[in-house]
C-alpha cells in the first residue's frame, strides 16, 4: 500500500472487528483485504461492480446495502455474518435455484460452481418454500469451442462486463425485462459473434455457474478435487486472517 493511501486510511468495524479502509474502497474490498468474506455472486475481481445479485447485502449503520457497491465510511458499524442476513442470502440463492434449471448431478461445473458452493456455505438444506419455475431456456452449441446453456444462467452479468470492459467486444448483453430478462449474444447465435475461447468473458473464472461451457475440457478435474471440494467458498479470503 502506498504512503499516500496510508495517510487517507480510516477504520470501521465489520461484526465488531476493526477494519482499515482507504478512500474509494467499497465495504467488500476493505473486507477482502482484512480477510473477512462477504458472500457475493455478481461481483468478481477485475470487473466493475454491479450490485445486482444482492447476496452481498450487509447492514451498514442499520441500513441494508450491497457491500460490493457501498463505499466504506469512517466509524461505520457493518453487520455481515448474522443469522438474519444469512437467512436472506439463503433465500436469494434458493430463488436462483428455483428460477433456472439447476441440475447439479448433470452439470460439468458441479464442484466448481459458485452458486452451488454458496448454497453449501449458506446451509441450503431446508425443504423448499418456493415453486420450481422450470423455464424453457435455450442451449446454443453453434460455436466450435464454446457452448451456452442458459438453463444455468443466473443473470449475474459477469460475462457482459468482461466482454465489454476487458475484451472490448460486447458479445453478451441482456434482453427482456423482469423475470424474462436473459443473457443474449450479439448475433443470430454464438457462432455468428466474434467470441473466442481465449476471451476473458469465456474463462472459467468469469461465469460462476455452468452456463458458459468450454468444449472438450469438461470433467478434466475429477469430482472430489474441484475448487469447492477443497473448502467452502470464500475460504481463500478467510485464510488471510489466520
Amino acid at each position: 500500500m502506498s504512503g499516500t493511501k496510508k495517510e487517507t486510511g480510516f477504520s470501521f468495524t465489520i461484526d465488531g472487528i476493526e477494519v482499515t479502509a482507504y478512500a474509494g474502497q467499497t465495504i467488500m474490498e476493505a473486507a477482502d483485504d482484512a480477510g473477512i468474506y462477504i458472500p457475493r455472486l455478481c461481483d468478481h475481481e477485475g470487473l466493475r461492480h454491479q450490485g445486482s445479485c444482492r447476496v452481498c447485502t450487509v447492514k451498514a449503520g442499520g441500513r441494508s446495502v450491497s457491500a460490493c457497491t457501498q463505499p466504506a465510511a469512517p466509524g461505520q458499524a457493518v453487520e455481515n455474518e448474522t443469522p438474519h442476513l444469512n437467512k436472506m442470502r439463503r433465500d436469494l440463492v434458493e430463488m436462483l435455484f428455483h428460477e433456472g434449471n439447476h441440475l447439479c448431478p448433470i452439470c460439468e461445473a458441479s464442484g466448481n460452481c459458485e452458486l452451488q458452493a454458496m448454497a453449501y456455505r449458506l446451509d441450503m438444506t431446508e425443504a423448499t418454500k418456493f415453486p420450481y419455475l422450470e423455464p424453457c431456456r435455450a442451449l446454443d452449441a453453434s460455436h466450435p469451442d464454446i457452448a451456452l446453456d442458459t438453463n444455468r444462467c443466473i443473470s449475474c452479468g459477469r460475462c457482459i462486463r468482461a466482454s465489454q470492459d476487458v475484451d472490448g467486444k460486447g458479445v453478451f448483453g441482456y434482453v427482456g425485462r423482469g423475470i424474462h430478462r436473459r443473457v443474449a449474444v450479439n448475433g443470430e447465435n454464438l457462432a455468428d459473434t466474434d467470441a473466442a475461447v481465449t476471451d476473458n468473458a469465456i474463462s472459467a473464472e468469469v461465469c460462476p455457474v455452468g452456463c458458459i461451457i468450454r468444449k472438450r475440457v469438461g470433467f478434466v478435474t475429477p469430482i472430489g478435487e474441484r475448487e469447492f471440494d477443497k473448502g467452502l467458498i470464500g475460504h481463500d479470503i478467510e485464510e488471510k486472517r489466520k
Binding site: L103, A119, Y120, T125, E126, A127, T128, Y132, C136, I223
Partner: protein, 194 residues
C-alpha cells in the same frame, strides 16, 4: 437386549419407498456398510423395498422417500407415508427437486412437454420399434402427472438429505442422530448436491 429392556426401549420403526428415481438412494442406504448392524440395533424396518413389505403394518417413526412424483401412484404412496410417519425425510435430489426425471418438465421446448416426451419415447423416436404405434395406455398403468413434482410440493417434508445419491455417511449420520435425538443440522462438509 433382554425382553424387559427391549420393552422399555422399543426399537424405532422406519419405512422407505422409491418413487420417480433410479433406486440409487436405496443403494446408498446399503453404502452404510457394516454400520447397518449398529443401525439395526436401533430400528426395525417396516414398509420398504428392503423388506418387501407393501403396506404399513403400524405407524412408523421415520419415513424415507427417494424420488419425486411423476404419476398418481407416487402421490398416493407419498401421502400414505405422510399419514403413517412421524418424521418424513426426502432422500436425494429427485425427492428434493425432481432431479433427472424433472428434465421432462422443461427441456422439451414444447407447449405439451409430456405429450412430446411420450411421442418421442414410443412413436417418433429414431430407434423405436413399436409395432402398435401407440403410447401404452393400459388401465393398470398409473396415470402420468403433467410434471414431475418434488416431494415438498406434494406433502410436508421434515428433513432433506441432498445428493445424487447422498453418501452412506450422511445417511447414517443423520439417521443415527435423529434416532438418538442429537440431530442439529448437517455438517457443512458433508452436504453435496451432486
Amino acid at each position: 437386549m433382554s425382553e424387559r429392556s427391549q420393552a422399555e426401549h422399543p426399537k424405532a420403526r422406519i419405512a422407505t419407498a422409491s418413487l420417480a428415481g433410479c433406486f440409487g438412494c436405496h443403494m446408498a442406504i446399503l453404502d452404510i456398510d457394516e454400520r447397518l448392524m449398529d443401525l439395526m440395533k436401533l430400528v426395525e424396518v417396516d414398509r420398504s423395498p428392503l423388506t418387501d413389505k407393501k403396506r404399513f403394518t403400524q405407524r412408523c417413526d421415520i419415513g424415507i422417500i427417494e424420488g419425486g412424483c411423476c404419476n398418481e401412484e407416487n402421490v398416493h404412496v407419498l401421502q400414505d407415508f405422510r399419514r403413517n410417519c412421524d418424521v418424513l425425510i426426502a432422500l436425494g435430489q429427485c425427492a428434493i427437486m425432481g432431479g433427472l426425471p424433472a428434465m421432462r418438465n422443461a427441456i422439451m421446448h414444447s407447449d405439451e412437454p409430456l405429450r412430446e416426451c411420450l411421442d418421442e419415447a414410443y412413436i417418433t423416436g429414431r430407434y423405436i420399434r413399436n409395432t402398435t404405434h401407440n403410447v401404452p395406455n393400459d388401465p393398470a398403468l398409473p396415470l402420468l402427472l403433467d410434471e414431475v413434482y418434488p416431494c415438498a410440493q406434494v406433502v410436508e417434508i421434515d428433513y432433506q438429505i441432498p445428493g445424487c445419491a447422498p453418501e452412506g455417511d450422511i445417511i447414517f449420520d443423520t439417521l443415527s442422530k435423529l434416532l438418538t435425538g442429537k440431530f442439529r443440522g448437517f455438517e457443512r462438509e458433508m452436504i453435496k448436491f451432486d
